[in-house]
Amino acid sequence: MSEAQKYVWKGAIPLQIHLHESEVTTLPPPPPALVLAPRIGYLPLLISLLKPHFSATLPPGVDTIWFEYKGLPLKWYIPTGVLFDLLCMEPERPWNLTVHFRGYPSNLLLPCEGEDSVKWSFINSLKEAAYVITGNCKNIMNMSQTDQADLWGSVLNGNLESYSRVSSKLKLETFEDEYTENVDSASTKSQQSTGDAEAVGQVKTSRIPVRLYLWTVNEDFDDFEDAPVIDNWDKVSYINRPVEIHKEDGKYFSLNDAVKRLLPEYFPESSFGNEGDASINQSAGEEGENSCDPESSSHTVEIAEIKCVRIQGIEPSLEVPFSWVVNNLMNPEYFLHMCVCLKVSEANALQ
């Protein structure tokens, strides 16, 4: 358990939750609910706090809770912290959300029948992560009922100690963690291993589960206040693709390298797995990559530049080793969620 992991588990978003006006049947309308929502949690789990607050004013009917931000229905299976990082680039504190208990938009959102649906979605993601890391879902399928309940309980309650105990049984380590001072046991073990250059930073697996939420802009902006608003899920590309680690990457494979490897369509030369038709690259600065189709008669090329990478509410330096990012910032279901903004612009090709 590293200091960083503790911060991630303690992280919370202050929410100011307003009941949608169509569901207010009393005067005066109820005040908004002020809730601290765990970053690693999910919005529907807040119902136990919200229902008592609003129940007196709700119209009769069955509760089907859903949330929206500025008119955008929120996908409940995305962790709360990720939603905040993606939709509120200029952090709003508290974050103002609207809650509905009626009129579930089932043509837009997956159905959610309370905690069971959220738990199922979590376990399903965990299975997928296990599959990516080990090649099969066996260790998840074979979890005892008690372990599964403990694991989910630890996520519900934000209990990192309990979580670490159960999750270590799953044997889903992706990177050897040489950056962490081991808080629990004596640190001599990790100090000794630094002598062995081969073992330190050793990659145990070749695929890392990542979920990347990508949005692109055509023009620069200085403040996130000026950034284009995401008012439609079609403006976000959801990329559920593992990062492939190769032997030749070494232990200094950075966050920058990982993001580029995940987006070969924007950063062609970073992809080792490219076929023979890889495009020619002209200048390869740190900031941007060019790609040029030799067949094309066009004289402009498009340049993609990483504008921002936000993970667990922070923007790590892109030079941070990816192994550190994964070990410390991933979510409990073993996925690393990254919100990435790319600036894509056209430029004249150098002759």
Partner: protein, 246 residues
């Protein structure tokens, strides 16, 4: 020496389809489908519009077969484990999508189905997504879809609701769809095809989707013409396909 033995890879095949082979396998599948499954409209390739960089990088995409009409005309068909599908022509349906359905199935209920074949980078296999709606466009609840499925699928579904047909968001379309969960795919593809696999057999990878669909299609009652399979596969198909569902 048996030629097959000589060229057989020392590393056994793991049952997966590499990402960069998906579009090739998809076009082989849709070509053969067009050739041998006349009663159906063709599968269409939908490139993903995410990126528009001037590069020769292969475009991502998925296959779609839409507005296929399930005609529930009599009880016998359901009991035999095969379904009667009436396909709408994609070309003419552009003008009058639902009128055409009414024309074809005047006295019968028609449940409409859309099928998409999408590649999963996590599981490294294709995944079948589908959704269903009544003629008026209203989505079918899962309980109704279960009634449409051939006999054995419905049983499997009831046994393990969470791990067979699941409802998830379509990877590209931001809408809820149903999908056949892919976690077992690699294993049964290996079961189905490992004897025919050799690393030098390019045809094998092209045929991946055809072989895959020969099994998966059965779950939703879409039978492919056996002409689409090559001879070795046909033999295997007959013997192992039923094992997969045991």
């Amino acid at each position: 020496m048996d030629l097959k033995e000589a060229v057989k890879d020392k590393i056994p095949w793991d049952g997966t389809l590499p990402l960069n082979e998906f579009s090739l396998s998809a076009s082989t599948f849709s070509d053969k489908w067009k050739m041998f499954n006349h009663s159906f409209p063709p599968w269409l390739w939908n490139p993903c519009p995410k990126h528009h960089l001037n590069s020769s990088h292969k475009v991502e995409g998925y296959l779609s077969l839409e507005n296929v009409c399930l005609v529930k005309s009599c009880e016998e068909e359901k009991n035999h484990g095969s379904l009667s599908w009436k396909a709408e022509s994609n070309i003419s349906q552009a003008e009058e999508p639902f009128d055409h359905a009414t024309l074809v199935c005047p006295e019968f209920e028609a449940n409409h189905y859309d099928f998409h074949i999408v590649y999963s980078p996590s599981y490294r296999v294709p995944v079948l997504y589908f959704r269903s709606y009544y003629s008026d466009g209203q989505p079918l609840p899962l309980s109704e879809i279960e009634k449409d499925l051939p006999g054995h699928s419905a049983e499997l579904l009831l046994e393990s609701k969470w791990t067979f047909i699941t409802q998830e968001e379509h990877p590209y379309l931001n809408r809820p769809w149903y999908k056949l969960h892919p976690c077992g795919t690699r294993d049964w593809m290996k079961l189905l095809l490992s004897d025919t696999y050799t690393s030098s057999n390019k045809n094998f990878i092209e045929q991946y989707l055809v072989s895959w669909f020969s099994v998966v299609g059965q779950v939703v009652g879409l039978k492919i013409s056996l002409e689409m399979l090559n001879i070795e596969e046909k033999k295997l198909f007959e013997t192992t396909a039923s094992d997969i569902f045991e």
